[in-house]
Amino acid sequence: MESITERKKTRTGPVLFSSYTQGEGIRKALQLGRGNILFELKSSGLRGRGGAGFPTSTKWMLTAASIAEEKFIVCNADEGEPGTFKDRVLLLEYPELVFEGMVIAGFTIGAKLGLVYLRGEYEYMLKSLQDYIQMMRNENLLGKNILGKNDFNFDIEIRLGSGSYVCGEETALIESLEGYRGEPRNRPPFPVDTGYMGNPTVVNNVETLASVPHIITKGGEWFRVYGTSKSTGSKLFSVSGDCEKPGVYELPWGTTINELLKIVEAKNTKAVQVGGASGVCLSKSQFNRSFAYEDVATGGSVIIFNESRNMLKVLKNFMEFFVEESCGQCTPCRIGNVKLLEGIELIEKGKFTFSYINKLKDLGRTMQVASKCGLGQSSPNSFISILENFKDEIFQTNGRGK
């Protein structure tokens, strides 16, 4: 296997993969001060890179403004969405960006402790991350009076997950950190108000935090140059599936799907699943759409399917994923996902009626608005989009049923 440093040298990209010196982000941030940091962040237009796209500056501002004894910055490294592996690359090859982003966040919101929720499947990188953090402590980039700034004490702790996709949802993540089952909470109140142990907490994706040092050193306006007006900056795409060059690519927002397919040398593409299992499945006619929060929003997962793939089997794989990973709290998600999966099995056997399939699609629409958290709200997305966009293929090969 290639060494990590070798791989890092070959990665190119306008923002995250651009050059960066260790420590320069923190240094600049301490110089700028909280107000200016928030200003740069706001002018950059950075939005959450985990898929939800919530304006990061708003999150930080609300937390910075609240009055509490303790505040926390949590790095959401529970990358469980099928097809997403960009955070793995960031954590292995660019830990300086991620951790310095956390330090800057801690400085801005007034936190003393940063927690990294690392998914259990990434336990193999735990030691290298802990070594890096120790090195940061030795360089006075963590610990007491960071880089000479009096009273700025900040440290980072890594906590492991234990194999649960739903813990990627921010309130479920906080529950897991607190030692409970990873079940999402009622919102409001939001974590910026009541988060870890009841204190204001900012939960940010790895990529979001990794963008911060670049924005601080090069300015928010520089970040805006890339991307579109509503989706500024660039995005890491983890591309897998039927293509010649799977891997992590940094492309500006606004790139169309066709352009991406060309870059990864995908041939005979029939369908592209954008956003992982909770995203949408696009057919050829929609390949001219662009990646953007206002068009096809995504956390970066792109899975490519060529003509040989059976879309119903793909859909079944996704629904099995959700049935297993649902936390089981709320009725629509717990039972709804099972019903959708049973519907797919009926289609496979050819024992379905169109009216029942339509009822299931209706159920999917209810799940999208009535579920307690993002998992239940987005699990019907692939069900509805695949059955809609590939209905000829699915219903021809599986019979018209009754």
């Binding site: 409970y180 079940e183 009622n186 108000d193 009541t194 709290q329 009725t331 717990r334 039972i335 709200q377």
Partner: protein
Amino acid sequence: MVKREKSRIPVSQQPFTVKKPEDITTIGGTVSVQINEKKFTVPLGTTILEACKENQIHIPTLCHHPDLCIAGVCRICVVEIEGMRTLQTACSFPITSPIKIHTSTPMVRKARRHIIDLLLSEHYGECYSCFRNGNCELQSLAKEYGVDGFTFGHIDTARYEVDRSSAAVIRDMSKCILCKRCVRTCIDLQEVGVLEALERGHETHIGTFLNKPLADVICINCGQCINRCPTAALRANDPSDEIWMAIDDPVKHVVIQTAPSPRAAIGEEFGIEAGKSFTGEMNTALRRIGFDKVFDTNFTADLTIMEEGTELLNRLKKALVEKDDLVKLPQFTSCSPGWIKFIEHFYPEYLDYLSTAKSPQQMFGAIIKTFYAREAKIDAKDIVTVALMPCSAKKFECNRPEMNSSGYKDVDYGLTTREMAQMIKEAGIYLPEMPKSNFDEPFGDASGAGLIFGATGGVMEAALRTVYELVTGREVPFKNLNIEPCRGFEGVKQASVKLENCVDDYKFLEGVELKFVVAHGTANAKKVMEMLRRGELNDVHFVEIMACPGGCLGGGGQPIPTNAEIRKKRAEAIYAEEETLEIRKSHNNPHVKYIYKKFLTEGPCSKLSHKLLHTHYTKRGKYIS
């Protein structure tokens, strides 16, 4: 930032307590909100559900319960808020800004319908063969939304085996809708910690530690989970078939003793609003069903006061006169079997503090099969004693191996209020219209002191009325004998009464401030035990503890549903009935005097009474039985 109270329940199921401002007339104290085109002003932080309840707007709920913290898991109370893409649950969403809410839009109605369909698709069983037929929240919801078919199918095999191991509580998880009320009751309200959600996703089910049968874990049988379960997933162990057999058997002499709390609540099972006592009517109904004798448990409640009061005075004498350091004070009451099992599991090192007196139910069983059998000239082996109790733990209590002082099983069956109402209905009797009648001799009508056992603080009040008078020769210095400091629903009540000008026999108590503590609900019992552990109860003499919130009137066998308002009305019914009685002190009960003269001739706490009326306790494990 909002600090949550330290609670065992995960934060995902805790209420969002935006601190409601003290003064709602100031700016920022209230917020104007629009619900269904009407404008209302509510205190900041009110949830949508609360706001709607106050303004008579109906929103259906399932996992919500007024006694418990908010869960927000069933999603049936969803409403639409303008400007928000997803529907929000009314039970958990706090109103902090002027929003526009719609409680019945096409999307809301469809969502509710889908949720009911999903729940029904997994709910095993048919309504007509279910004991909650007619009183089931899922059934009512289905009717409210006009369900006339199973959109997503209906399960036809039970997913889980019914757990019938416990003498008191039966669990049928195939009927569970995962509202988590039982979990919140057991962990949060009662702090016993027997039930929790296990596994994840579709495999989620409510279970015990290591999925052991209920009888093998530390369940104290208080039945509070049964009272709050919306469906038939939890029920009490019903012995009515066997009781019918006994009644129909001409050889058997079936007697029933009735506790005060069922009388104050049984009307609810017949559609009467809470707060009306049906003592006289129930006596008639019971005889018509076929019980040979109907006795008043209050008689042995009075007996308990004599025994326990004497025991307390004996302990006080040992402590103050003989200066015996080993005597255990304060003395804890022992009539609540849920409390007994609680202390046996969690604080077995303090068992000596318990009074050795049995509960009134068990005392009666022993008396009936000895004294009464002799008086009535009936062979004790043909007597079947049934106890009508508000309590599910009594079913466990009557099966305790040591409860056979009469030579036979002292109490054969414990029957709950709900089960009794069912038997009365089966016999075609409409209870509220029965003529009134009295209890049977030789135990007759008991004193008011025995009657108030049903409410929290009642045992304490009854004991004080007797003890004070024994010691000082005067009545308790409270208006109308109503000892107010004992009454009310506060978790832990503390008060005291001074003993002055004592009679010669009790001169050693001259000037002593008799301190007592009253607690109800095992969460408060735990608080009291921790106080004991820390040495904060060193100057307290008497503690009354009831396992169920509200005392026995909130017991695990009482009519469903339950909430603070209903329990308050039942308490009012009990206290009101008590004031109408002639005799209000246990020691004035002529039947009590008679039994000590004729039968328990050695007096209270003597060797003979110890044999029949006192018991011992068993140390049990903290995690597994």
